[in-house]
Structure formats: C-alpha cells, structure tokens
Amino acid sequence: MITENKVDRSKLMDVIWDIQRKKFQITHDDISKIAQEFDMSRMELEGIVTFYHFYHRTPCGKYTIYLNDSIVSEHSGRPEVLHAFEEALGIKLGRITADGTFGLFKTPCIGLSDQEPSCLINFKPFTNLTPEKVRDIIGRLRNGEKPSKICDKPKTNIRYTPEPERTVFFKPYTTYSSLDKLNEYEPSEVIELVKKSKLTGRGGAFFPTGLKWQFCSQNEADIRYIICNADEGEPGTFKDRVLLQEHPELLIEGMILAAYAIGCSQGAIYLRAEYMYLKKELESLLEEYRNNGYLGKDIKAKKPFDFDIYIHMGAGAYVCGEETALIHSMEGKRGEPSTKEYFPVEKGFNGKPTVVNNVETLCAVPRILNMGLDKYLTLGTEQTPGTKLLSVSGDCGKPGLYEIEWGMKLREFLKLIEARNTKFILFNGYAGECLSEADFDREISGKNLLADDDLLHFKDTEEYTQKMSGKGLRAGGSVMIFNKGRDLLHVLKNVADFFVAESCGICVPCRTGNFLLNKKIDRIKLGHGEEKDLEEIKEWSKIIKTTSRCGLGKMSSTALNDAIFKFPEVFGTILSENTDFNKAFNLDDATIDYDHIINEMTSDYD
C-alpha cells in the first residue's frame, strides 16, 4: 500500500503502539522521532496520540490496569473491586504507583459485559473480579508473574441457538468449505446472492450489504479495499468478540468472498485495542489461509484473484466504530468522521472505493453460501431473514450470547434470558433506545428503527403501547437489562458521561451539546430540576440530533428522551414547577472559595 516517495501513514498507529507497549508512554523524544520518520509536524502527531485514550503521553505503569466503567459493571460490583485495587496498590483511579509499576485507569465497556466486573491488565482480560481475586492478582503480579500467564480466557457464554438446521452462526463449520464456491460463481453472482439474501449491516445501521458491495464494485478504481469493522465499542456488545473466539474462520472466509465479489485486493480487520488478546490467534489463522493458498497471490477461483488481509489495531476511541472515522484511523489520522461528502464506497481508504462491514455481517456470508439461499430465506421474517446475535447483560438469570431468529417477541426473549422484574432495557447499547414495558410486545425484527422524534407524535405511553405493539425493533446487538431496583437517572448519567468522553470534538452540537445535556442530568439528579428543564432537554436533543456530523451525535440523546417519555413517574416526582429562581445556584456553595481563603488568613493571625 506504499505510495511513491511517501511513508505509509497506515503503519503509524502500529509504530506508536510498539513504543507504548515497550515504554508505557510516548515521550517528547518519541514524538519527535516518529514525526520525523513519518514526515509530519510534531503537533500533528501529538494530535493523533492524544486522540486515542490508550496512548499515554505520561507514564501509565508497567502493568496498566483498565477497569471497565460501564453501568453493567457498576451494577455487578465494580465499586468494591475498584476499592480493592486502590487499596492493594495504594493509588487512586487515574494514577500510577510511585515506583511506576502499576497504573490504574478507567475505560468504557471492554466487551465483557456478561462477566463483569472485568478489567484489562496490559490488554489481557481478567473477568468476574471480586476484591479477593483483585488482591490475588496484584500479589502475583508483584511476584513477577506475567499477566498473559494468569489472565482469564473470556467465556463465550453461548446460551441459546435455534435448532441446528435453523442456526446460522454457532454450529460446527468445516474450514475452507465456503471457498469451494469461488470456483462455481462469478463475482457478480456472489453479489446477487447476497442481495437476494436481504443481508443488512449488522453493526446496527442496517444498510443492505449486497447493495454496498455492488456500489463499490461499480466504482472505477485501480484498487479497492474491504475492511472488517471489529471495533465493537457500543457498551454492552460482545457478539463480535464471541464470533472471533468461536468462528474466526467465518470472518476470514467472509472477507475473501467479499473481496472476490467486489474485486478487492487488500483487506483489513480493524480490531479494537480491547480485543488485543485475540490478535495472535487471528494472525496465525491468517497465516494458515495464506499457506493453503486462500490468501495471497492467485487465489483459486472461477476468476483467480489476489487478496490479503492484515490486522489494524485501534487504540481506544468509540467514535472509530463509525465507518468514516475508522477509515481515518486506519490512515493514521485522528479518528474523526468525514464530512460525508462521499460514501466510503466512492472514496474510502486512501481515497479508493472501500467496503466497511461488521464482523457479524461478514460471518453470515459463508454460511448463506453453504446453506443455500432458499434455506436461509426460510429463517427469521420475510423482510429480515436469518438470525441475529444479541449480547445480553445486566439483571437477568442468564447473561451471555443469544442467537435468535429475527421476529422473536421481546417478551418471549426476556423469558428466554430469565429476566424478571425488568424496569427498563437499553436496547442497542448507549446509542440505542430505552425500552419499557410498553415495548415488550414488539418483535425483534430489524425492520423498523424508531426515531425518537416519533415519540412526540404519541400522547402518552398508553397510546404508544397500542400503536407500537408488534412493531419491529431493530437490534444492533446489545441488550442491557435493568430491574426495578435500579436508578434510571443514575444509568442515564453514566450514558451521558460516556458520550461526553467519546465525542470526537469535531462538530459543535455533539461536542458541547452532549456536555450541556450532561449538566442538565446533574441538575435533575441533584433535585434542582424544573419542568422547563425537560422541555429544554427535548429541544436541545433535537438540535444535536439534526445538526451533528455523525451517528454519535445523532443517537447520543435517544435513550434519554425515550426515558423521559416512557417514565414520566420517575421524572415527575423529582421535578418541581417552574420558578423564577435558579435553585441550583446556592450562595453558600458559590462563596466557598472565599470562605476558605479568609479562614486560612485569619487562622494565620492566631
């Protein structure tokens, strides 16, 4: 991918990673050196390094501990675990020990929501933490044991699949079996097949996959790229992690088939840094494919082709799950979403036509080929055939991974996962809907994405229930369950914090709008809220939604607005009528600095 006379910027993040892993920080000198190597200004590089939260400009400890900060983790006992870490290490969150051995940091969801509380130590997973386990881990690390030797192997927790002939993903697979089809089909026939299968983007955007492939293949170019989006950052999602653990061969074969269909010669897997522990096995599997002639030059097919795949490591930025941000990140830039002037299939990676597909989408392709289109179309619903992977976490009897046929009623699904006393559900993660009992009769069908603008058309939840019952519920993959004991506002605050931390900052409405919404939640939480605050939340959300550049800003306030609509009783009891006085303004609090200064001075006189 090297263009003439120019250093290959796509290797930049790998170079930074090497130094981060070796030195546990990126020093001033490193910045100078790398900037020179890549022929860029120091500050441009500084901008890239400071964009990703796993790169540190100051020492982060020989053992860098990242404790998951998401709400499910908190509900599973994170506060005690954090306390145990702080006590065992003698440092507070966000600090490193005096000898530089340990650093303790928080990070958003690390894709282990069904085995929380969990953490990463030097990017090795440690799950189901308890204070005892924490003390044990720290003790063993102090004794010189390596994190890679004592870490856990994350459980796949596959709780449910349909009967074998109706299962798509989680059933035995014969490696290479789908690649025989390369000799049977023309590339255009593969696209046609995928189009007919009605497969849509499983990352949650539901764009028709076949159509995307077709667009890309139709754009004239000397090179085309296929990128697998394995930057599974949506809190509560871990389906891609399980797929990569159980069936990485499906992904690789899906990518090979896509490359053949579209005419791509280069592929990449953008793997989130949180899943770094999966990299080694993936790489050796890729090598196996290479050795068997399925990757590399002259791959056997009806029309022989060249194609290879490499892995690009992310470095901690939720927004990179957005396809144009992901492409920028792969190009060694700040992971900011593009202006949307072009689709990636027109101008993507390095300005060339690029297809970005989710792991689950790509994994479905070899299965559809092997299963046959007719059989596949009998699964699920007519509009959305097939099955869907759902990552379930939170308050239920059986958290874990579920493969269900599209069309299952939410109520039925809740029974399946043994959720009792459910008060609300964050469906599709933090950027998704907040569901209440009013939604339980809807079906998980991938058919209809309810924009929360539509909420305004309903008088109350009763009317909503009537009209929405049976309506489709688009599922991206994350289902977080909260029972009646949970504090809705506290959960919404965690969601709001997440978006403030993860907004890339490129456009005003998302950067500052989310910050201001967060302040509103604080105000309500502290009991200073008035009715007009809710009105302002609704108005401001709408502005953020309609003017933000990418999906992050468009979705960040959905759950909050859903909750306001669906749980008037929660907000009703804590809000007061509108007044002419700002109750949040407390004169004693506002003069506290002055009191301190004067007290300190007068005590000097004594």
Binding site: E336, V500, G505, T546, I597
Partner: protein, 421 residues
C-alpha cells in the same frame, strides 16, 4: 458542456450546473445560507454545522451538497433558522467570547452572524472553561478562548514542505488547536497574516499587529438586519396615579449602562411623564417601597450582595430586563473566571503594583459581601425576561425596549442601534 439540473430551493425553481456546491448555487440565486467554517468550495470542512439545510426532507450541511436533478431543498424554515441560531449560541456558551476586549471585533464572522440572527443571549449556560492562550510561537498568539474549532487553519495553513502548522489535539470538549512552534517559525510574514485572516474569529493573532491600529477592515459595519424581540401580549397596567414604576440597579458592572441611560437626554422628560423611578441609583432610593413593573439590571453577579439584590429585584419586579453585556454573559468581570480567586485577591490586595507597601491583608469582615467563586450572568441566578445587549447599550435602544414593554407594543430595533463593537 456542463450539464444543467433543475432543483427547488424554498419552493423557488432554480437551474444550476450539476455538481455545484449548494451554498454557492443558493448565493447566485439570492438565497442566503449562513456559513462559518466554509470558505473553499473544493474542501468543505463541515465542522460548524450552521449551513444545515434539508435536502428532500433530510438534514444535511449545505456546504457538502452537490446539486443534482430534482433536489428539493429547504433553507429558511423556522426550525432550520432556530437550529442555526442555537449552534451560534452554543459556540458563545462554549468559548469565552469577550467582544469588547477582542482585537477582531467588527471583523469577526461569528460576531456578525450573532448580530444577523438577532442573538441577545445564549439559551445555554456559559461553560466558562479555562482555556490556553499560547504566546510561545515566534510570530503568533493562539487564543483558544475564542477558537471555535472550525478547522480552517488546520486544513489551509501548511509549510512549504507540506507540514501542518496548526493541529487539533486532545478529544471531545478538550479538543483545541495547537501551533507547532518549529513549523510556525518557517512561515513567512505573509503566510502568518493569511492564517490570521482566514480565522473566522479572533483566535489566531500575529504579534505586533494588534494594537497599532484598528484591526482588519471592519467588513461587517454596513451589513445586518433589524431584530424583532418577542413581546408578551398582555400590556402592563399602570399603578398609582397612572405612572409605571421602574427600578434600576448596577451589580458587577461599571455604571456605564446607567450613564448610557442618562444619555436619553431631553427625552428623559418624556420618560418621567410615563414612569416613576423607585429603587435606583438615579433616585438614590435604597429600598423598594412598592412592587415595580420593570426592573433594569446592569452587571452580573460577582459577590453575595449582588445575588441578594438580584433576587430581591426578581421578587419586586414583574418584568426583569438585563441590560448590558455584563448582565447577559458576565462581561468583563467574568474574565476573572479563569483565574483562581486566591490569585485575584493576592494580586489586588497583596502583590499588585498599586498595593500599599507592607499590605498583608485581604479584607474579610462579616459586613463585607463575599466574593463568589465565579462571576455569573444574571440569568444563571434568576429568570430574566428581556435582554438589551451592548457595552453599553445605546440610550435610544434602552428607552425603546422599556417603553415598548410597558405599552405592550411590537417593536423592532434597527441594526445600528444594537451594534456595539
């Protein structure tokens, strides 16, 4: 030959070259789409989001749209106009924009848009975050307080060998533009001035070019529209002998707004026909003796007494009007919000150049009002009904607002009456 396409903008049928930029097409046809970050057709930045329009019912930034056959474009719906206003207000709330002390006042794209949209106050609370002012570069000053992160400088200014001079660093609310000192030193004087000129606000300044003469061309002096404040429908009723009762006060202000009030000159006689002043520095009445129709508040809240007076005004006045920038957004006193209170006091009473030799006391007594941690705009303490912007507001402007509110009349304010820079 270029292909022509037919499209509609706000219902008006328009023909244009296929693939042309929507903002330019609109401009050619006399339709104004406000922009802030947009300045080069070839490379729209789409960071400010102000040009958001609806294309076939879907919101999208106008600067990234290439016109095509059959497009139905909405530009000036009430919702879109409010979105634009909201974004400018958000920029004002997010940054620290003190126009009276800004070198680029009068030549600032954002200030002009503020006037143009009739913004008197931002609907959002001011963030007042501490931002970096970087004097280190050889030739330039980077004033992050005023930066709106439009990315013009990042994309446009490069050295001869193609390296970036300005870069975004950090992420989210912490994002800021940082100058690369080494590369900046390689710029020519002309290139540095170009960087300053493309900055739509006053964030990039070239040293030595700031105080000698008024800065820039004041390109916006002749532009602008009148504003029409929304007035509540029910007129106020006169009390006691047919006169309206007005109270005024100056909180953390300089009394400049009151001086401006006196500039009503001979019309003051008309004013006195219509109104009676109650508590006010003008009458020297210290305590409210009755409920008032209108309270005029100058200045923001800097100490505990300001807060108490303001709260009393809210109780005793049916309508509260904030006049002058300090009341509206904190103004000049709020510039101390970025310095710890201790440092402010030390500078004022202990270490400053004008302090008495040997002074070692910061005044503290129960009779002295306590300073607040921050200076607050009035609307963050109580509800304010109307705002009269300006530093100070024009006398005619103040009187027009007061009179119209009292009589419940619709009114509009001419552009030159509310433009103060």
């Amino acid at each position: 030959m270029t292909k022509m396409v037919n499209l509609k903008i706000d219902g008006k049928p328009i023909q244009a070259e296929a693939g042309m930029n929507l903002v330019d097409v609109a401009k050619q046809n006399g339709i104004y789409i406000p922009t802030l970050c947009y300045f080069k057709e070839l490379n729209p930045l789409a960071t400010c989001r102000i040009c958001t329009v609806k294309v076939n019912g879907k919101e999208i930034t106008g600067c990234t749209v290439k016109v095509a056959e059959g497009m139905d474009i909405e530009v000036t719906t009430p919702e879109l106009l409010d979105n634009r206003k909201a974004i400018i207000e958000m920029l004002y709330a997010e940054g620290n924009h003190f126009c009276p002390s800004c070198e680029k006042s009068g030549n600032c794209d954002m200030q002009n848009l503020g006037y143009d949209m009739g913004i008197t106050v931002t609907r959002y609370p001011h963030v007042f975050s501490d931002k970096i002012v970087d004097f280190n570069p050889k030739r330039m000053i980077m004033e992050s307080n005023r930066c709106i992160l439009c990315k013009r400088c990042v994309e446009e200014v490069k050295t001869k060998d193609g390296k970036d001079v300005f870069s975004f660093v950090q992420r989210g609310v912490k994002t800021r533009v940082q100058i690369d000192y080494e590369q900046e030193a390689n710029l020519t004087e002309a290139e540095a001035i170009h960087a300053m000129n493309i900055c739509p606000v006053g964030a990039i300044l070239v040293k030595g070019m700031i105080h000698e003469q008024p800065f820039g061309e004041r390109k916006y002096d002749l532009l602008g529209k009148d504003i029409k404040p929304v007035v509540k429908k029910d007129p106020l009723r006169q009390r006691d002998g047919g006169k309206f009762i007005v109270a005024t006060t100056s909180l953390a202000g300089c009394f400049g707004c009151h001086m401006s009030l006196l500039d009503i000159d001979t019309e003051l006689l008309d004013v006195l026909e219509l109104v009676e002043f109650n508590k006010s520095p003008l009458t020297d009445i210290k305590k409210f003796s009755k409920q008032c129709h209108i309270g005029l508040v100058e200045g923001g809240c800097s100490n505990s007494e300001n807060v108490e007076v303001l709260r009393e005004f809210r109780k005793k006045c049916d309508i509260l009007v904030g006049f002058g920038e300090c009341a509206i957004m904190g103004g000049i006193p709020a510039m101390r919000n970025f310095v710890p209170l201790k440092e402010c006091l030390d500078e004022a009473y202990l270490n400053g150049v004008t302090t008495e030799v040997g002074a070692d006391v910061v005044p503290g007594h129960e009779d002295i009002p306590k300073l607040l941690n921050n200076v607050y705009p009035c609307n963050e303490v109580v509800k304010i009904d109307y705002y009269i912007p300006g530093c100070p507001p024009n006398a005619q402007h103040i009187w027009k607002v007061v009179k119209s509110i009292l009589l419940g009349e619709e009114f509009s304010i001419a552009h030159d009456e509310f433009k103060y820079d």
